[in-house]
């Protein structure tokens, strides 16, 4: 069933260009709804197929193994609710004449191309074409972040373009070094750039070259993943971008960058053992946690608050991968739950922004009574992101602590201390927003916007709740084979 893979990658490309060409509001809305549905179905089909057979491929070009399928599910589900939310959000902006119809169709073209580039990067087996696709997502995101054309948005967009470009250039150097060492084993051909070939021959690759390549890839893709100390673009970009874009940046793009790091880690681990990559990743992950936890309390802007929370959670997921063993399972689980919870937090934040037209946290308290959908979204997402049960983030954080205790106890102590700090400060801010004394009234959003955004929030809540209490068996199979990919010779839990 290779068509599901082709469908998944091509739907947003087609929908994006057709949206730009038709330039009619109703047509674009219908098209985007179709895209949301198609992406959801295609992602589920790809995942189902990978669970059943271990891998899907369309020609030699698009290949999806368990790690790709895991990312397909994340980007597919969140991308689909994100599209619905964007239809509601941008429709409201259009109704209020904040954007013209032309800009409206441009937005959806860029938004869809952005999703398409990410899906291509995930489902490609060639390490260099993955780089090209990730660069494509960077470029489309750059235009989306500066979409408002306000001073602050342009500044955030510029910062993002420059930092990401540097990051991605360093990642390309890492890619070239991989090719440099692999072509001696595999010959001068595209074969020397395929993940599966690299995994098989990793033991024969030059270890020093692979180590240097990994450092370049970690710094390069780490810039895109928003790991401290390369995170400085992240809060600005998340705050200034139109909110549907903030949600996609946080839930999808950061996850994609982690995915790229994981691919390099898998090759490097096979070549020089997991000690080397583990140490580097754990160090950067703890630094990210420390940076984000300390910045929660001083945030006055609710979108920046959630942006810092993204730095924290990407750090936690990477910590899991760095520890290895049980941590691999926890890291992958963490990525999915974070994507669902964080996109929902931004959906709530977007509704609040539409109502108040500012991002000051102090003035948007007591949301639950005044704006039930936004209030519930922010409250549930906030509780989940703080790491409280019954959500999956609780499970993964506990597993990471457990994994760290057995492997490196000193990491567990630092991790727990930072986690406690982040828990308290984030929860304080979120509870203030959701439950505090009612703030100002603002202007209510239109009926159509309410329908679309509520649907998006609804799907996310259901998905988050469904996987919160237990791991569904299909996902369990995928996770088990991801764990096997990183823990060589160790059976999955």
């Amino acid at each position: 069933m290779t068509w599901s893979l082709v469908l998944l990658v091509s739907t947003p490309v087609v929908a994006g260009f057709v949206s730009l060409l038709v330039g009619q509001r109703r047509a674009i809305e219908v098209l985007q709804c179709v895209q949301a549905g198609a992406m959801l179905v295609a992602a589920a089909l790809v995942a189902e197929r990978v669970v059943a057979t271990g891998g899907v491929s369309a020609g030699n070009f698009l290949v999806s193994d368990s790690l790709s399928a895991w990312l397909d599910l994340i980007v597919g589900v969140v991308g689909s609710t994100g599209t619905l939310f964007a239809v509601g959000y941008m429709g409201e902006e259009l109704d209020r004449a904040h954007v013209s119809l032309r800009r409206y169709s441009q937005f959806f073209c860029l938004f869809d191309l952005y999703l398409a580039a990410m899906l291509l990067a995930i489902n490609i087996e060639n390490i260099a074409i993955m780089w090209i696709a990730i660069e494509g997502s960077t470029l489309s995101a750059a235009l989306l972040i500066g979409f408002d054309r306000s001073k602050a948005a342009l500044e955030a967009g510029w910062k993002y373009v420059i930092l990401s470009s540097v990051g991605i250039a360093l990642a390309l150097f890492g890619t070239i070094l991989i090719y440099y060492s692999s072509e001696h084993v595999l010959g001068v051909s595209s074969e020397a750039l395929r993940w599966s070939q690299l995994y098989q021959t990793a033991e024969r690759l030059n270890p020093t070259a692979i180590k240097i390549a990994f450092i370049f890839a970690l710094i390069g893709y780490g810039t895109k993943a928003g790991i401290a100390p390369m995170h400085t673009w992240l809060p600005d970009a998340h705050a200034e971008a139109p909110t549907p874009v903030s949600a996609m940046l946080s839930a999808n793009m950061l996850t994609l960058a982690v995915y790229a790091i994981l691919r390099f880690k898998a090759v490097t681990d096979r070549s020089v053992g997991s000690e080397f990559t583990g140490k580097l990743i754990i160090g950067l992950a703890l630094l990210s946690l420390a940076v984000s936890a300390t910045f929660f309390l001083v945030q006055r802007d609710y979108k920046r608050l959630f942006a810092y929370s993204s730095i924290e959670h990407i750090g936690i997921a990477l910590l899991g991968f760095g520890i290895g063993g049980l941590g691999i399972f926890a890291g992958a689980w963490h990525l999915m739950n974070h994507a669902l919870a964080k996109s929902m937090a931004f959906y709530g934040a977007g509704l609040v922004f539409l109502r108040h037209n500012h991002r000051l946290l102090d003035r948007v308290t007591g949301l639950l009574g005044r704006m039930p959908v936004a209030g519930i979204a922010i409250l549930v997402a906030g509780v989940a992101l703080a790491g409280m049960p019954p959500f999956g983030l609780f499970t993964s954080e506990v597993l990471i602590v457990a994994g760290a205790y057995t492997a490196r106890p000193e990491v567990a102590y630092v991790f727990l201390a930072l986690l406690a700090l982040a828990f308290a400060t984030l929860l304080f801010q979120v509870l203030r927003m959701a439950l505090g004394a009612p703030g100002e009234a603002g202007t209510a959003v239109g009926g159509q916007c309410r329908v679309f955004t509520s649907t998006a929030v609804g799907i996310n809540i259901v998905a988050l709740g469904m996987i919160g209490l237990q791991v569904p068996s299909g996902l369990g199979t995928l996770l088990a084979s991801i764990v096997k990919m990183f823990n060589l010779g160790i059976e999955a839990p």
Binding site: L139, E155, V166, A169, F173, L193, I212
Partner: protein, 222 residues
Amino acid sequence: MPLFSPHIGSQIVDLGSALLLLTCFAIVAQRRLSACVDLFALQSVFLALTASLVAFLTGIHHIYIAAALTIIIKVVVIPRILKNVIERLNVSRELMMNVNVPTGLLICGALVILAFFITQPIIPLGFLLTRDSLAIALAIVLIGFFTMIARKKAVTQVIGFLVMENGLFLGATAAAYGMPLIVELGVFFDVLVGALIVGIYSHRLQDAFDSVDTSKLTTLRE
């Protein structure tokens, strides 16, 4: 009998790489923006020549295509875009820098040593013809990176990025006799689109801030 012995071929490739490195230093020392763009174009010419030489000596034909694309995109198209930006924005000189020129040149010298130090263990892996170029390629990447940090004008930051890109291309050609063609086409496409986007951004920055001095971008501070 081949036109050059491998030894002489390798010397000429080294010479080309060294010329690329030399233009890097010239860019760091140059304050006039349009001259920086010209130097970047010159560097790209050297890059295309070095790549063609590698293609000629090794008989790998797709490197010629990459070299031709370098001429079209990096020598003709991108410099025109940048000159256009400079003219429209009416910025000609960079008077304030984060790091002054002599210090900058010293730092670049240190970066070259660092690049040789990092690549030392893996140089013997490479092909005889081009293996010394890998260290130079890394040095160019690092100097491009440094230029982006040291300069304040949007245009010079872009040139820094493009210099990094040239270093990467030299690295790919030197280390691996070029990446597979589809990869190189994709990279060129991304660079071109990236330059266009940066052009769009600097226009808008000019409109919004009346300046392309990125040190004036200080609204977003923690």
